[in-house]
């Protein structure tokens, strides 16, 4: 069974979206929200963003950089990069399993 970012409870999915958003470089909060909305088609509220971001920082998956005009960029740590890669591999395998059971080939 796939358990994305265990321990994060209802913030597991937003946390994964944030980690993926930071995978191509540091971003501040607003850029993460815009990137997530563009990638998923669903908005992420600021309260959810910072609740997940705080948990990710607490666990050492992301780290804050010095602020630029009150905007503070965050970047992925090596631990966060390993974790997100592992989560995505598990999700990919789970998606393939589901599609095979439905008799549909993965795209």
């Amino acid at each position: 069974m796939v358990t994305p970012l265990p321990e994060l409870g209802r913030f597991a999915e937003p946390a994964l979206l944030i980690l993926v958003s930071l995978s191509d470089g540091p971003k501040h909060g607003y850029a993460i929200m815009a990137d997530v909305e563009q990638g998923t088609g669903r908005p992420m509220g600021p309260g959810t963003l910072y609740a997940a971001l705080a948990r990710l920082e607490e666990r050492g998956f992301v780290e804050a950089l010095p602020p630029v005009d009150r905007r503070r960029p965050y970047r992925l740590t090596a631990l966060g990069a390993t974790t997100v890669a592992e989560q995505l591999r598990e999700l990919s395998a789970f998606a393939e399993l589901g599609l095979r059971r439905l008799g549909q080939a993965p795209r």
Partner: protein, 254 residues
Amino acid sequence: MIALLLRLYPARWRARYGDEFGALLAERPLGPFDVADLLLGALDAHLHLRGLGSSSEHRKGLPMSLRLGGFAAFTGGALILAGWIWSGLDPAESDPGVLVFLVGAVALLVGLAGLSAFQARTHPRLVWAAFLLPAIGGAAMTFGGLAMVAVPDAPIVGDVSGWYFFIFGLLATIAGSVLFAIATFRTGALPRSGALALGVTSAISLVSFVGALGLGGEAQPILMLGFLAFTVGWIVLGLQAIRLDRPALVAGPA
């Protein structure tokens, strides 16, 4: 409006995130969805994140097990190898080398415990099960080694001398390292290349030691290969763990 919403969050949370959070809220008009999301976020911060950011105990705790575990695994592997070489260079005066070896064994136990604690956050049963054999082996090896230095060749439990504890502990540590490497590979919490290196080198080491059991003087090169492989595996995993605690290499801020 923004200031009022920010006041809903705990003071310590505001001290850490308030400025950037206020800047984020000011960047776009707030809709009803955002306000509801903020209210839930503030409630969550009061319930779960009261000390977040300003109190970094948890943050220190997790990477500390990684940092300590990685450093101890690296040091333990290096000292065991150095001690083995040292005691082999002058078998007549082997005590200093054995002591270096034993310090390395203790460091390896610390490394094993640290890396296990780090990985146990996500796979506790698997990791602690894999921890048992090398931990028992490491403890027996250290006990046996100390007994060999303190009372050479004398039995310490029944008719069993420290040498037998040492050999049993060494073989259990090496076999347990294979299991630990498999568990580490499975969790994915540490780099899998490091887990693979430890698994392969420990397996080579185990085959070398078992193969050398029936041999006499010609066993020395095979034992050396076994020790070299075993210690290099732990050194590699330790280095990988230490490197994991660094930021990922990514581009500049958006």
